[in-house]
């Protein structure tokens, strides 16, 4: 429907499980909600950055998602 949007599937579940643990029954609704929130937020950002023109959500998501993912990868507290 919208082409490729990178990083959503990679970042969102990881953040949610970092916050709420990994009990899927508890987290799945939150994953769905926050995924929607993130993509929507990026879309709004893309519409605002160069108003009245639009920037595709995949581009904005690429930047935001990559930054989030790097943060997740290297900001991780090391267990064991």
């Amino acid at each position: 429907m919208v082409g490729i949007i990178p990083f959503v599937g990679l970042v969102v579940p990881n953040i949610v499980s970092r916050l709420m643990g990994d009990n899927l029954r508890g987290t799945i609704p939150w994953v769905a909600l926050s995924g929607g929130l993130l993509v929507l937020g990026c879309d709004i950002l893309g519409r605002l950055l160069r108003y009245p023109y639009e920037i595709p959500v995949s581009t904005v998501m690429g930047v935001v998602g990559a930054l989030l993912f790097l943060r997740l990868m290297f900001g991780r507290p090391t267990y064991a």
Partner: protein
């Protein structure tokens, strides 16, 4: 007495160059030879830069799968270019001469590379994490480039397009003299660093024990790699897997860790592959396919092969 394999490689490289200059010659000789000569010069620069930067990078990171382009350095160069056009405006950028343009782009890229890749290289990260970070970083750079070019006005965007349009069929030959000088200087620096590289290949602890200033050496090598990547990207655009292909071949042909042999072998192999490939596609197959695509295909296969079956350390 140079190694016999090096001599064979050298002979092959020379014959590839001769073939490139002579196959299917007709028409106005002076014009054709000048055209081909410029192209050949650019191809040589690309080959040497990619081969040497890949070997350097692999030695510094101590593994045989990472290459500068997998870590997103060429995407970084394009990002720097777009950022410059973004800040100077299309006209201001176009008003800079070829040499100044390239110099400032390289400086910007060095700055970005130091800021973004330096922490990654300095902390001892595992290979897998490094690979993941590299892929993510190059995606980030690419997205940022796209974002910036979306923010540009159409005129400036046209400048971006013309300056990043380079590929093997449309080599940018406007900065040949300057580029050649930079390539030669970088290659010379690599060659002079060959013994230090041998020591760095032993690993961090051993190198420090043998008296190498690790931080300084790694920083200098990262800068050198950035310059070389900038040259090749400026000339033919991003080439993802060529460096990997070349270094893998060089390791097979020269099973040694001595950079005095490895560096020239890699450069010669790169020259042979690029020049003969271009000759074949352009004059024998009448430009039926693009060299870039063939190289990415073969190089990608090599990458997968190395990932799955590992390589000799």
């Amino acid at each position: 007495m140079p190694d016999r394999r090096l001599i064979v490689l050298f002979a092959l490289a020379v014959s590839a160059m001769l073939a490139f200059m002579t196959v299917g010659l007709r028409g106005n000789l002076a014009f054709v030879l000048e055209l081909r000569g410029l192209k050949l010069l650019a191809l040589l620069q690309v080959a040497i830069s990619i081969a040497m930067s890949t070997i350097l990078f692999q030695t510094v990171t101590a593994n045989r799968i990472l290459t500068p382009s997998i870590m997103g350095l060429d995407a970084l160069y394009l990002l720097g270019q777009t950022a410059m056009i973004f800040s100077l405006g299309g006209l201001g950028y176009a008003a800079l001469g070829g040499g100044w343009k390239f110099t400032s782009e390289v400086l910007l890229m060095m700055l970005l590379a130091m800021a973004l890749l330096w922490p990654l290289l300095r902390s001892r990260t595992e290979v897998n994490l490094m690979l993941l970070a590299g892929v993510t970083l190059s995606l980030l750079f690419r997205s940022l480039t796209q974002l910036l070019s979306r923010l540009l006005d159409p005129n400036a965007f046209a400048v971006v397009q013309t300056s990043s349009f380079a590929n093997f069929n449309a080599i940018q030959t406007d900065m040949n003299l300057f580029g050649t000088a930079v390539t030669l200087a970088a290659a010379l620096l690599c060659w002079r660093a060959r013994h230090v590289l041998d020591i760095i290949g032993l690993g961090r602890e051993a190198a420090i024990g043998l008296g190498v200033n690790w931080t300084k050496a790694i920083a200098a090598l990262l800068l050198l790699v950035s310059v070389q990547v900038a040259i090749s990207t400026a000339l033919v655009g991003p080439v993802a897997f060529f460096g990997l292909l070349v270094s893998a071949l060089a390791e097979r042909i020269m099973p040694t860790h001595r950079h005095g042999l490895l560096l020239p072998a890699a450069a010669l192999i790169a020259i042979i592959l690029l020049v003969s490939g271009q000759t074949l596609l352009e004059y024998a197959l009448d430009g039926a396919s693009a060299l870039g695509i063939v190289i990415e295909f073969v190089g990608g296969l090599v990458f997968l092969f190395l990932l799955f079956f590992g390589s000799r350390k």
